[in-house]
Amino acid sequence: MTEVASQYGLFGALLVAGFIFGVIPCVLPLLLAPRSRGKKTFDTYECGVDTIGSAWIRFDISYYLFALIFVVFEVDVLYILPIALVFDDSRYVWRDLVELSLFVGILFLAILYAWRKGVLHWRY
């Protein structure tokens, strides 16, 4: 049982360390950096002049589809990193390579499908 508990303990420690590692760079500047506030500091930055009209408008669908294509590869990278840790046995090098390229290939099919459907062609 202790075997499993230490596993979870390790995972918990990793989680906490990751969280702290993320929070520190955000909190530290609040304490250490000087601050300055001017009249226009919190206005949106648009080349130095005030913005005209509101930006709450209906954007075209192609922006959304482009974002989706990015997400496909994002997920792809998310899975490749842990795999790289696991596939370290030198006897099955070729098997690992095929498995990995299969995985990436299937994801790439999604891109080909989007490409063929004309998502990349900017209509508007």
Binding site: E46, C47, G48, V49, T51, I52, G53, S54, A55, W56, I57, R58, F59, D60, S62, W122, Y124
Partner: protein
Amino acid sequence: MSSVPGPAMELVRDDEDRETYYLNMGPQHPSTHGVLRLRLHMEGERILSVFPVIGYGHRAHEKMAENRDYLMFLPNTSRIDYLSGMIYNLGYCQAIEKIMGIEVPERTEYIRIIVGELNRISSHLLWLGTYLLDLGGITPFLYCFDDRERILDILDSISGSRLTYCYGRFGGVTMDVDDAFLESTAAFCSYFHERLDEYEDLVTDNVIFRQRTEGVGPFSADLVQRFGLSGPCLRATGTRRDVRKDEPYGIYDRLDFEVPVGKTTNGDCFDRHTVRMAEMVQSLHLIEQAVRDIPDGPVMAAKVPKKIKPPAGDYYFAVESARGHFGMYIYSDGTDTPFRIKLRTPSFAHVSAMTEALVGTMLSDTISILGSIDIVIPEIDR
């Protein structure tokens, strides 16, 4: 909201309109080449209408001309279009010389050709570097500026400044050139010939550059006439018009050079690029001829009136700057201070043409078109 006549009628956006928005490609923007503000009315990536707001670089050159006498206004002229400062400076001198009928010695004419064309090459080099920076290519900027520094060294050695020259005087130039200057100029010309071929292979035949410029922003002959464009933008549409050929000043009529014209006559960004590259080659020919046959002799006219008092009346004199037809409409009332000097600058017409040329293009093409017409802001706002 204002409305601009013609097809670029600005669509006034009322509040219920949830499809379109305004975007300020504003005074502080990396690809407006200075403080030009374009108020774009856009839908998605497409531009419905453009309303350029200028005046952020207005420095009152013309009011200054009315406060200065003719000689005191001279240093100011190279700050109007600081990329072709030498051409503007010498142009102003040639204008006053023509009005006052001052004869300039032969050697000075040749010197003016050499430094003027060197200045044109340095301006085109800066345009090439920043245009490719706009299109995303970072390294050509460094190569072009490296070559440009060589030209600035040559011009610096005789005029003392790198950018805003005051090398011309009424009746001649301030410093005579020595053999070292002529040798370094000749060395630069031979060096720069292969360099231009390199640029041709690296840039002109680059596939991405072609896709971003071919067919982008074509200028029709009608648009060119209604806005009065000049310089490389006009020549890209196929009209062979150059002030150095049509209204020759100095000794341009004695030297032979051609006026390059765009290959395809729809005057798009790629044509403007090829015209400027060919112009650099022509400038090199001009410099080589001038360096070869420059005679000896004085560089300042023998008799120059102390006080310049042009006879009353209005005069017009134009030179071909790197951007196009730069003209000075001088109205003199006989005193030594000009009554009015109107500076007719090429970029003023080019930016006003943007109200029509950018309509319907995508934002990335807008940056490509704006970069291809090579504007200098104080020249627009004066």
